[in-house]
Subunit: 331 residues, 2 copies
Amino acid sequence: MTKPYHVVGIGNAIVDVLAHADEAFLDTHGVQKGIMQLIDMERAVHLYGQIGPAQEISGGSAANTIAGIAHLGGRTAYVGKVKDDQLGRIFAHDLRAQGAEYDTIPAPKGAEGETGRCIVLVTPDGERSMNTYLGVTEHLTPADIDERLMAGAAWIYLEGYRFDGPESHEAFSKAIGAAKSTGGRVSLTLSDPFCVERHRAAFRKMIRDDVDLLFANRAEILSMYETEDFDEALSRAAAEIDIIACTDSENGAHILAEGQRWHAPAIPTQIVDATGAGDLFAGAFLWGLTAGHDLETCGRMGCVAASEIISHIGARAEADLGALFRQHGLI
Amino acid sequence: MTKPYHVVGIGNAIVDVLAHADEAFLDTHGVQKGIMQLIDMERAVHLYGQIGPAQEISGGSAANTIAGIAHLGGRTAYVGKVKDDQLGRIFAHDLRAQGAEYDTIPAPKGAEGETGRCIVLVTPDGERSMNTYLGVTEHLTPADIDERLMAGAAWIYLEGYRFDGPESHEAFSKAIGAAKSTGGRVSLTLSDPFCVERHRAAFRKMIRDDVDLLFANRAEILSMYETEDFDEALSRAAAEIDIIACTDSENGAHILAEGQRWHAPAIPTQIVDATGAGDLFAGAFLWGLTAGHDLETCGRMGCVAASEIISHIGARAEADLGALFRQHGLI
């Protein structure tokens, strides 16, 4: 039986506020380069007051992934909490306009907090440093998880960042249970090395018990397995998970499954803004997988999609990814 | 005595919602190509529901001009009405972050309407078709005009679009009176040929009585003087206004003053999004003028700035305009 959804994603619903900044700005304002830091509303307001002119583009890690799969023609849905405010409507519009289903009930106008946003500071080298005010997206509860939706997914895709926030583990458990009850498979992204640091035990347990496909980058998988030996981390992951897709920046991606290992080369491009590279790698990989491509090809699709995303501001595809796959002989 | 501001602008405070669309989409949804159409909230919600993923970038014609002057180091202030909502805060941030003063009191949370926005549909040829929901920005009244601000300006810059909306003429009159009382000069942009159509008599009167510098493009000045002869339109304008700066797309710009006429060539570039080309032409021209450059150089600066703006999405400068002026030997 064909399931109604190729991939259903769960994550933090975030609008990105993208601005350019130099290294001195990061130092002066205590922004750690290249990672995601959680900030409260007060810090968000302060930091926003310091940055230059910005542009607003819908983001959210898993939402970027789901948008990428929808862009490629995959059947997708997304679960994540916005508020019934202007930024929330922008987030919902951009996801639906890309062809993804999105029906999570927004927090009402009167609720505390606002739609989550991420002040993304892009340095001249194209690296992004993320400052996330979670707002209402922190409060995604098991009640927001529609079991029929999860049961209808060939794959669910879980965002590691969602380990932050109350009731997030319960929400994930409910989603995993429903998905597995109909033979659905579970993919997880580790999201960020410091996120792994905060929740290593919970990540470990989920990986051991439930995860069929793990997305990570070098820093994240090293943090996960508390080693500085990349090959060791990959081997240990491969011993407990069916499929590993691990990116390594300009060195491309490593895919491990069934005792084999493949390498997908990175596509050289001028890095304008690295925001979303990992998200779109995962989106293209999952699309390839659900479209029946072999794992090496999925990895190569991921690298092509990542190179498109880092060539412009924002974490949603601007070029036609399917056309790029054809150009690279992948479809 | 040096005045505190080089340029103070008055216009509609708008956040642009930029999306790509093809010609068929414009036809299907009754969007007229290449011009600005006013739409109500219902139409805005409907049209927004039909367009693809978008990005939000602060816009507003005069605000883009003022942001450009501030970007170049000019001392500027802006007057235009937003609401105390998320889009209003985005608009205010982006202008202040560029270095412009912006102190217009926002419409309160409870006010009818929202911060104005413009759904900008960019076709593959780079042309933009604008669908503007004015919202609260329509209601800028004489009370919002700070006479001390206007009196402190070497130039005020009036946006033709602001002829729409109740009390807009009274607000302009107050601003002009205050500016002229201290020897300030008045510049006006015609904004749009259909805007000229709606308010020709009022434009005529202001031009005859008050305007020292007129910005227009070919379609606007033809509409203004109800002729199809471009040279005739320019001559008639030159007979009643000190300085005319008239753009003509890929043919560059024509500057007329003191019985002379100069031509500034357009800078060839790949057109990604024409939004803001005229606004930044005006910004660069006014900056050049207040920095003491001759009119021909001001026109060439305008063309360089316009070429930068049309090379990317959005109507605010991304490259360093001063550096571009140096590259072109203008400063």
